[in-house]
Symmetry: C2
Subunit: 345 residues, 2 copies
């Protein structure tokens, strides 16, 4: 873990421990974060300034950095272990959609004064659990004091066979449009937290909250898509918005059929009447499912991949000449789409 | 530039443009940041989810992430172009001290509402200038809204010949201790800003402020140190603190001679009587010079490297068996050292 000397002009404490009864920076790194780097050769036990990644013959290195900010991307009341896992999984999800296999990550953690050792222990515990699940290690990073919200920046690092990365720009007219998992669950989970909306059952509520708090990066499925998919993206801004990114970058039009957008039983319980729920789901974000395009000739291979990786996958539409994204009803009529996704500003 | 969908539970604006008269996120990326990625093959013009780094035969990939936070590491009044350059250069300085050659970086930018387009233009302009100076490109990143301070996280990416990275842990008894440039200038520059302390001359003041605001990563010199230095670190926490990291990781004692610590003419003007100024300089941070150890047998090669790269270098002490860092006066007596550097908490 690097040490960046803060030339603090501000009111932050210059000594340790601070009022939150935390140990100092170096002790914190040694106690909480060095164990997460124990098994990674190029991490040097977080006792050096940088991390090193050995070359893998025939492989490209894939990099993605992604920030999670308190009160923007998570709530202070969220469990620390789900906050750290979400920060990590969001970045892993980008690698998944590109067909890359993650191997390591860097962590930059800006901490205000309030998180105490119990919070930090749980935060690191979430990372440890996900490292074991995904076979990755922390290899470097940075901790800093901040007068603002907790800000967690993960740089995920992975590999993909040279040239095999699945881009956004390869969709071609005639391709089919696919999506993994179910759409809109995380958006409903956030609505439950924000608006206190009631889900019809405790089971549905728990499912939707879990989908919001701990997304599932579709890593094994994504890796299998190399050579099958012509374009792919992980759904973070929302199904329609992210398909829009593929349409724009590929120079094509994408049409999806509302009735084919996969919705969970919990979301149907929560959202009621189907068409309205589909529109909400397709405009919400944070799904971290993979939307992708592929020729119909790859259908069997894709279904086989879905079976092998136990990943639900659905065909929801097709690629045409033109531009933009449209949603059609059962009769082929276009359904007006409102807000198409989230912009950060 | 990735788009991480903010599942905003907070009070942030959900639409664009915002009150600061900035364009929306995607337009901002296209206008300001995509040009910074134009020349980098694996950046895809910031139109995809990840960045890709092609393998370089025989080279290791070196990674360092580092955050710069408003009111912690810089002042809001600082010029935007120097803020972005400092964020970039701090991470490059770590690569320099390890002997690595930078090639690219990722940028995660958390922005509150106040920076307007003029500020953002200047911020990107600073990055463009440094990209040209150091031969690197932006290859990916992330922008997010934040209710807190501007938080800039740079992940610097470089290469070093396989196994040639200069670690912290190789210092051996008998080695000499070296440092590049001059020490304490940035600390004095910060003191001028914080305390309104007066420098004796406008020239000295400008020099010290420039050293605080825009550090110089010693990249060419650092690359030349591969095979010469036994251990190295960039001085961010302070000369004594950072030599302490080498001493601890290498399992040695380091003794430096106060009169040999190189001080700039401006710092001597600012700090007055020499011994007190040396102590201040050795405890201040943000120097981003390289402190390193090497056998005396490499002295000629090091001086030759210094000449070729036009880098001032000084011998300031030696490595002994034992532990810790001591500062000696001209008679070999130990000078008591107070606070040994900065901890972030």
């Amino acid at each position: 873990m690097g040490s960046a000397r803060p030339s603090s002009p501000g009111p932050l404490p210059m000594t340790s421990p601070d009022p939150a009864q935390r140990p100092g920076e170096f002790e914190l790194i040694a106690k909480l974060f060095a164990p997460l780097a124990r098994d990674a050769q190029g991490a040097f036990g977080l006792t050096d300034d940088v991390a090193v990644l050995g070359p893998r013959p025939g492989m490209d290195v894939v990099l993605k950095c992604d920030s999670l900010i308190e009160s923007v991307h998570f709530l202070r009341d969220d469990a620390a272990a789900t906050i750290s896992r979400k920060a990590l999984r969001r970045a892993l999800s980008d690698l998944a959609a590109k067909g890359a296999r993650p191997c390591a990550y860097l962590l930059a953690l800006a901490l205000p004064r309030w998180p105490d050792m119990a919070w930090l222990d749980a935060f690191a515990g979430g990372l440890a659990a996900d490292q074991a699940e995904f076979g990755i290690s922390l290899i470097g990073g940075e901790t800093d004091a901040t007068p603002g919200p907790i800000t967690i920046t993960v740089t995920a690092i992975g590999h993909v066979s040279r040239g095999a990365l699945i881009r956004r720009n390869g969709a071609r007219p005639g391709d089919l449009v696919f999506v993994t998992g179910t759409i809109g669950d995380a958006g409903a989970g956030l609505a439950l937290l924000k608006d206190g909306a009631c889900a019809p059952s405790e089971e549905a509520r728990n499912f939707l909250l879990a989908r919001y708090r701990v997304p599932i990066p579709r890593l094994a499925f994504g890796r299998g898509l190399c050579g099958l998919a012509t374009a792919a993206i992980d759904i973070s801004d929302g199904l329609v918005a992210d398909l829009g990114h593929i349409a724009e970058t590929s120079g094509v039009r994408i049409e999806i059929v509302a009735g084919r957008v996969p919705l969970s039983a919990a979301l149907r319980e929560f959202g009621g009447e189907a068409p309205r729920t589909v529109l909400m789901a397709a405009g919400a974000g944070d799904d971290y499912e993979i939307a992708f395009t592929a020729p119909a000739s790859e259908m069997e291979a894709i279904l086989d991949l879905a079976r092998r990786t136990i990943t639900p996958v659905a065909v929801i539409g097709s690629v045409l000449p033109g531009s933009g994204v449209a949603m059609l009803d059962g009769t082929g009529q276009e359904i007006p789409i409102g807000r198409k996704g989230y912009m950060h500003f």
